[in-house]
Amino acid sequence: MSATPMHFVPSADFKARSRAALDDPKLRSSFRGAMDFLQNKRALQFPDGDELQALRDLGEAVRQHALAHLPALLEQLEAKLTEAGVQVHWAQTPDEANAIIAGIAERHGARSVIKGKSMASEEIALNHYLAERGIRSLESDMGEYIVQLAGEGPSHIVMPAIHKTRGDIAALFEQHIPDTPYTEDVDTLIQTGRRALRHAFVEADIGLSGVNFAAADTGTLWLVENEGNGRLSTTVPPVHIAIMGIEKVVASLDHIVPLATLLTRSATGQAITTYFNLITGPRRAGELDGPREMHVVLLDNGRTQAYADAQLRATLQCIRCGACMNHCPVYTRIGGHAYGTTYPGPIGKIISPHLLGLDATADLPTASSLCGACGEVCPVRIPIPQLLIRLRTEANRNPDEAVQHPLRGQGARYSRGEQLIWRFWRGAFAHPRLYRLFRWAATRLRAFTPSRQMGWTDHREPLRPAARSLADLLRERGQPE
């Protein structure tokens, strides 16, 4: 029922999946249409360029401030949450996080979990883990519910079922939900989903959610949504578990104001979403609803690796709006599943290496034309293109080279042959005599250039040196080298 865990992704698969995606006209038109729609909606929300830039400055400042003080803020958040009656857990790895959540479920004898949208829970493949232990975990966000029915994972971090057409969804509902005739009417489909999930909220033993922002000064979790499933998941079941990456905390509740408006306008082009749900602890004495017990799981999963490096730390500024993927020429063409990682698109390319290791993700940082669109739309000014270049460098670094902050999987793309070629190149360019000899040989022996040149000639004409070098041509015009 749930997506298979995607912790080890051979790099070769990315290329194969990209090729398959490029050859799928339905998928390409789904993504093209959706991305145009989201790009336009975002643009309409930022009519004033000065305001946008001023807000991005604020967003970046808030996130950088939070990261600069991260350990202290996490301790403060923990203290505030504990004071409010929340149980706080720390997890270094997906396994630790899953074990904590399963442990809570087992203590309560829970059979079913209803989930609000949470990318952190996708990251740890929680549904799969719970299913193996006989606990049913049901996605309640409409998009997540759809991809769960299809046995897939989300293809976009904000709009999980963006790759599906209404026809796909009509067929899924007809097949999986009893007494549901095939219809492509979206209102009817949504009401079918509502009906199918309504009693799941009533019956669930545990509600699980993600967290968009956490304020250390008040111990408040700030959840952003449109559907109301997040509110139901965090209010109706007797136990609420929230899972969040350790980077989600900010110093102060008012620091969230610029982030929240940047998030909704960048993500879905909304001035505000239907619900901002601010939770500060479980049900108190005298209150009649809300969870009786509340847990927060603070997840590392590679974030401390990104944090260790002053440049890569900017990765953790992300507020998960998805604007970078909406504007990415690569994502727009291959869609989210081709990446094979929880987070696709530009943000996925810079965060997945920390979650999964560069060895499992070495092809991702190279899947970019470095056009810069992602960095330009990022509401918190993450320099994504620069980080992509940095990760390429790390992937090509000698695995044995000692560096201050080694990345997991360093040197995954390191090739002795390539290093040799570069060494020869460096030598030739540093010694004029050698360079001239090389030039003479290359122009005279051009007929011997191979017509098949590894990957290059798959889609392009073979590279062939010119018959005469630039230096020769210049000399002819009387312009010495």
């Binding site: 989201l38 600069a68 803020l73 403060q76 909220f201 559907e227 609803d289 944090y307």
Partner: protein, 275 residues
């Protein structure tokens, strides 16, 4: 696995990486400076646009709520109970969940026709979950305040009006006093001093539940209320709290002036289909 180990190791790794700022004894001394910068940004934005009088804020609140598919009535203290009672009856609402002890609830109780049963939230949710989900047609809440710039209700559920009143029934009816409107979220948070103490739950509601998860097509009533009715109630002799704190954005002012004036005291129904 030792649970304390994970905590210790994560914090150690973070501290090792950010030796200066992260280990400073004052924790995050720069936070107030950053807060002042945020204040300045939003204050300047508000000041750049037309000053907000009560009518402008109320207009903006109405326009933005309608744009989000809410139905809005502008009315006064004397008129709203009968107006709402009539609408509920016409809509076929049979069971209305609300706190009849509060001043608004008491007024509504008196106005309700016999066809609409007043249901009070008296038991913990566990004791009547199914009944709550399956038999309640509508929930009525009184908002603490409103945010005109985004058409947002600020709800603070409590023991008499718990969280699920505005969430589970398919129709949510909210009353907001025109004199409680703020220009934007920043102004609301500051004026109401949220950081001095948060309730267990504070919810900002900007329209009925919705989704565009199926091919970017907007549909209402995903999981929360399918419909949202809002009564904006003018109180005699009360100035809006937000008039001093600034204006709404020019985009909103433009939106307001483009719609026919409906700022007439008393019941002026306006169907929310402008989105």
């Amino acid at each position: 696995m030792n649970a304390d180990d994970a905590r210790t190791r994560i914090l150690e790794r973070l501290r090792a990486a950010a030796p200066d700022a992260a280990n400073a004894a004052d924790g995050h001394a720069a936070a107030p400076t950053l807060s002042r910068r945020i204040d300045a940004h939003f204050d300047v934005r508000r000041a750049m646009h037309a000053p907000a009088d009560a009518a402008t804020l109320t207009d903006a609140m109405q326009v933005n709520l309608q744009a989000a598919h809410a139905e809005v009535w502008r009315t006064d203290e004397a008129g709203w109970p009968a107006l709402l009672a009539g609408r509920l009856a016409a809509d076929g609402v049979r069971r209305l969940l609300f706190d009849s002890q509060g001043p608004e609830g008491a007024a509504l109780s008196r106005a309700l026709p016999s066809t609409v049963e007043a249901v009070a939230y008296q038991r913990p949710i566990e004791d009547w979950k199914r009944e709550l989900f399956d038999t309640i047609d509508a929930g009525f809440t009184v908002a603490r305040s409103g945010i005109a710039g985004t058409g947002t209700l600020v709800l603070v559920p409590d023991a008499r009006t718990p969280r699920t009143v505005s969430l589970v029934p398919p129709l949510h009816v909210a009353l907001v006093y025109a004199d409680t409107l703020h220009a934007d979220l920043h102004a609301a948070m500051r004026a109401e001093r949220w950081q001095d103490g948060m309730p267990t739950n504070l919810v900002l509601v900007s329209g009925p539940s919705k989704t565009s998860d199926i091919q970017q097509t907007l549909a209402y009533g995903a999981h929360g209320p399918r419909r949202l009715w809002v009564l904006i109630v003018e109180r005699a002799g009360k100035a809006p709290s937000a008039a001093v704190s600034g204006a709404v954005s020019s985009a909103l002012s433009a939106a307001v002036s483009a719609t026919p004036s409906s700022a007439v005291p008393g019941a002026v129904p306006a169907q929310g289909e402008s989105a």
